[in-house]
Symmetry: C2
């Protein structure tokens, strides 16, 4: 996180932002098939982080989301995505956030929305 | 990579896919500001990997892309995104690929399109 410098940082500077990979296991099937609910959840997570939403798009793989859902929210601060596997209760979320955002709030928001039994979070600095 | 099992894998199984974070440093400013060129490059990378493109959306942050470009290609196999900082020659790409794809071909395709002076690639298993 490097605040207002995020879109000026470069090859010899500190990271431009952090990329969070959030694996949610043991999520109810219905939550992972609900394309509108997932859209609301990912947008709410971005807003919880203080990010500015530019655009979203969600895709239902079929059978009312039961075959899985994939979606993206493009942000002024980079992006959030989600991919779900309802049959096995798994969702893969990523949050790439630059600027003065609060990623921990986004992750808490997602956990509240999905209510996973287990969450694995990894973090990678980008551009450092 | 777990081939055809990718959309059935779950909490107790192997990873559903690999998430590649590709940082490109020292890229010509003009390449990083060219929204149409970046769209073509990211789509070509996805196709090089053997992925199926569902949708794309690219956003120009202003001044003909000079303020940066952000874009996403949603795939049947998950997604590819790019965020560029033309002023400092940096681009952050990520590729989340499930199924029987060839991510190394996608990365080679991106490197050919952007011609970076330096590339840092990180890989994380998702859902394992």
């Amino acid at each position: 996180m490097d605040g207002d410098a995020s879109r000026q940082a470069g090859p010899t500077s500190q990271a431009v932002g952090m990329h969070w990979l959030v694996d949610c296991h043991g999520v109810e099937r219905a939550r992972l098939a609900d394309v509108d609910g997932l859209r609301r959840a990912l947008r709410a997570a971005a807003e919880a982080a203080g990010a500015t939403i530019l655009f979203d798009h969600f895709h239902d793989f079929g059978n009312g989301g039961v075959a899985g859902v994939t979606g993206v929210v493009l942000l002024a601060e980079s992006h959030a995505t989600i991919h779900t596997w309802p049959a096995t209760g798994f969702a893969a979320i990523d949050l790439f956030l630059c600027g003065a955002t609060r990623p921990e709030r986004a992750i808490a928001s997602i956990e509240q929305a999905l209510a996973p039994q287990r969450v694995v979070v990894k973090r990678e600095a980008r551009g450092g």
